[in-house]
Structures are given as C-alpha cells and as structure tokens.
C-alpha cells in the first residue's frame, strides 16, 4: 500500500481543495474583490508592487492580504506536519528572471492561471485564449524537460533562510495594519492606495486574510498547482492535479451562477481585453516561464512558505517584474495591450528559450 497518510494528497483531497478555492474566490468577488479576480496571484502581487511604490499605476495599488495569507498559511501547514525544509541554491537568479517574465506575460493577458480559470468560470470567453496559450507554453516547457532541462539541486540551509519570504509577508501585514486605507486618500503612511480601478476593490481585511491563510494551508498539504496540472497531464498523462484545476472551475462557475456573477461574452468583461493573439501570446510566455520554474505563481508562494528559498526568489522576481510591466508600459488594460507589451512578450520568450536550451544535463 502507498503510505499516503496525507489526506489532502489523495484524489478527494485535491478535489476538495479545488472546490474550496473555486467557491471562495467567487465569493471574495461578491465581498469586494474585482470582477473575475477573487484571487489572482499575478494581479495581487502586482497590486502589492503598487502599494509599496515599485510602480505608480494609480489604479492597481493595494497591499493584498490574500498573498500574505498564502505564504503564512503554507508556513503554518509545513510546521504543523513537519514538512518545513529550508532549501536553496537551484539557480536562484534564473528563477528571478523567470518570475519577472512570467509576470510580464501574465499582465499582457491580465491574469495568472488561477484568474484565467476564474475568468472562464465568470463567462469571459477571452480566458479560453489565455488558457490555450498557457497550455501551449507549458507544452513547450515539457519538451525542454524531456530534453534534460534542469536547474540543478537545492542544498539544505539555515532555517532562517526559509523564513525570509514569510517574514517579508509578515512585514507587509504589519504595514497594512499600521497604515490602513483612508477614505478618499491615495496614500496612507508609506502605502499607496487606489481611489478607482481594480486596486480600489477589495474584500474586508479579515475576510481576505482568513481565506488566504486557509487556502495557503490546504494548498501546501495538497500541492495544488495549475501549471503542474497541465504539465503532468501532457508529460505523464497523469490527471491528479488536473482534477483540482477542473473542480476549481466548476465550483467557481456554480458559485457565480448562484450569486449572479456569470456573464457570458467576450466584450466588456471586467479587467480584460479582446486582443486574442496577445491573450494567447502573453500566456504562452507565462506558461513557459512557470514550467521552467516548476510551479504556477500560487504554488511558488506555497513552496516559499514551506522553506523553498528559490521559490521565494521567483516570487520577488514576479513582484519586481510587475514594477517593470507598469513602468515600461508592458501591461495591458481593458483598452488592449500596452505600447511595449508585444515587444516584451517576444523578448521574454527569447529569454525563456535561452534558459531552456542552455540549462540541461544529459539524463542517464
């Protein structure tokens, strides 16, 4: 018998976690988060970059408690089940670059894989192009994996190394508590806030934080990963993680139906544009970068919470990438792609191909 004591790692475990994320992501929208953006790891890390002023796009500035909750929830789960393993050293600089380009690709589409699924569940047809791009990017990634692509081994390290990102997140939470939003003010203490746009839409702090912690806890236990879902399906014909992804969509869809958030169509979808090629292309870049880095943005947060310092570097790469994306006009808006968005996707794909082709070991 397989010694899988961990019930979250079973088939019903991953299905349960997918359902939980689907339901509560949809509900977070009802409770204040932006449309089809109950949880979007890329968008929310971008909002955090805005909140601390790494970019100054006025409509996307908010210290998102969900992201903080993901990392701290995972940390709690990892310690509760003796799985906290501080480790680092598998090409961190490459992971930083992959994180930055993953963010740039995601912001051309306007969402991470989680949001692509939530957009689909909300009736946004443009998400189909994004998900197709994601799958295509991951498929390219599997070709590199089959060819021996590998960023090398990690080393065990000091416990405090594993604590770095959780501590940064705890610091962000302290900022959010010390400098809460002030009605009509674009700044509170050191934090920037949005007066309009998606950054001005958020569920109450406690609600966001508790749901974030719960998801972080369960996702650490279940290893929930949207990139892994597609990768394992393509690479091994394995459906385990894919079941979680599927359940997320189904339950978010049902919840949206129940609370009146399902609006099928392509045009005038919330925080979305209809440039099909770049919805596809942006997510090809993001998907390839996730595949080369071994996890979707959510999974990188959960890995960072259980002590993976390289995943933490990927997360910081994404946050810095969001700064570049908005400062350089790479991010899309509902009007369409940014002035330099297309060039950035091309450069990002070239960077990923360079990484994929040059970092491989012959497999025995």
């Amino acid at each position: 018998m397989a010694q899988l004591r961990n019930i979250f790692a079973t088939k019903w475990g991953i299905i349960g976690v997918g359902a939980f994320i689907g339901v509560f992501a949809a509900l977070l929208q009802k409770w204040g988060n932006p449309g089809n953006m109950g949880i979007c790891v890329a968008c929310f890390e971008r909002d955090i970059a805005g909140a601390v002023g790494l970019h100054r796009a006025g409509v996307v500035q908010y210290m998102r408690p969900e992201i903080i909750g993901f990392v701290l929830g995972s940390l709690i789960a990892a310690y509760s089940f003796k799985e906290f393993r501080p480790r680092v050293g598998s090409a961190p600089i490459v992971r930083f670059v992959l994180g930055a380009f993953a963010m740039i690709g995601a912001l051309v589409f306007l969402g991470c894989p989680w949001r692509a699924l939530l957009r689909l569940a909300g009736g946004d047809g443009n998400a189909i192009l994004g998900l197709a791009g994601l799958a295509f990017g991951i498929w390219i990634g599997t070709l590199f994996l089959k060819g021996g692509y590998n960023l090398g081994r990690t080393e065990k390290t000091y416990t405090s190394v594993g604590w770095m990102l959780p501590l940064i997140m705890a610091g962000f939470l302290v900022f959010r508590l010390l400098f809460p939003p002030v009605e009509g003010e674009a700044k509170s203490g050191i934090l920037f806030y949005s007066l309009k746009g998606p950054g001005a839409l958020y569920a109450p702090l406690a609600v966001s934080l508790i749901i974030g912690l719960a998801i972080g806890f369960m996702a650490q236990r279940s290893r929930f990963c949207t990139m892994g879902a597609l990768r394992d399906l393509i690479l091994f014909r394995q459906t385990h993680l894919f079941l979680g992804l599927l359940t997320l969509v189904v339950f978010a869809f049902l919840t949206n139906l129940l609370v009146g958030q399902f609006h099928p169509g392509f045009a005038t979808q919330p925080v979305a544009h209809t440039m099909h090629i770049w919805n596809f292309g942006g997510m090809v870049l993001a998907g390839l970068a996730f595949a080369l880095a071994g996890g979707c943005p959510g999974r990188q947060l959960f890995l960072a919470g259980e002590g993976d310092g390289d995943a933490a570097v990927f997360v910081l790469g994404m946050i810095v990438g969001a700064g570049f994306a908005h400062n350089f006009g790479l991010a899309s808006s509902p009007k369409g792609v940014g002035p330099y968005g297309i060039a950035a996707v091309v450069i990002g794909l070239l960077a990923c191909l360079f990484i994929g082709f040059t970092m491989r070991k012959k497999r025995a």
Binding site: A2, Q3, L4, R153, F236, Q238
Partner: protein, 72 residues
C-alpha cells in the same frame, strides 16, 4: 544490490522523470529512489503505482526518504 535513483534536492517533475526512466530501463525488479521532500515522496509513489509498480517500503532517512519500488 538494487539500483539507486538519487533525486534529492531536485524539484518536481525531476524525481518523477528519473523514476519513470528507471522503470523503463528495468522493466521489472526493484530499485530505490532517494528524495528530500514529502511532495516528491508522494509524486514518485503515485507515478510508480500508475505504471503498475508497487511501493514496497518508505523509510525516513536524514532529511528525506528512501523509497523502495518493485515489480515482479
């Protein structure tokens, strides 16, 4: 003496890829996989079982696990 696949320090999907390679090479018999995270332990076990192999034993060792996989 059974073969040993050392997947310590590697993140997914490397441990699974290495395990499947070894399964292809051996066709039947027994070998050991060393991993250092619980995720890899679960993934390797799951992958072996979908290939019709059996997880015969899992032992905690150092910071990780020694997994014995076999097929008669």
């Amino acid at each position: 003496m059974s073969n040993i696949v050392d997947a310590r320090g590697l993140s997914c999907p490397q441990p699974v890829l290495m395990t499947l390679d070894e399964i292809k090479k051996q066709n039947q018999g027994e070998f050991e996989v060393l991993v250092d995270t619980d995720t890899s332990k679960e993934n390797v076990s799951r992958a072996a079982e979908t290939q019709g192999w059996r997880v015969k034993n899992i032992q905690a060792e150092g910071q990780g696990y020694r997994i014995v996989i076999g097929k008669e």
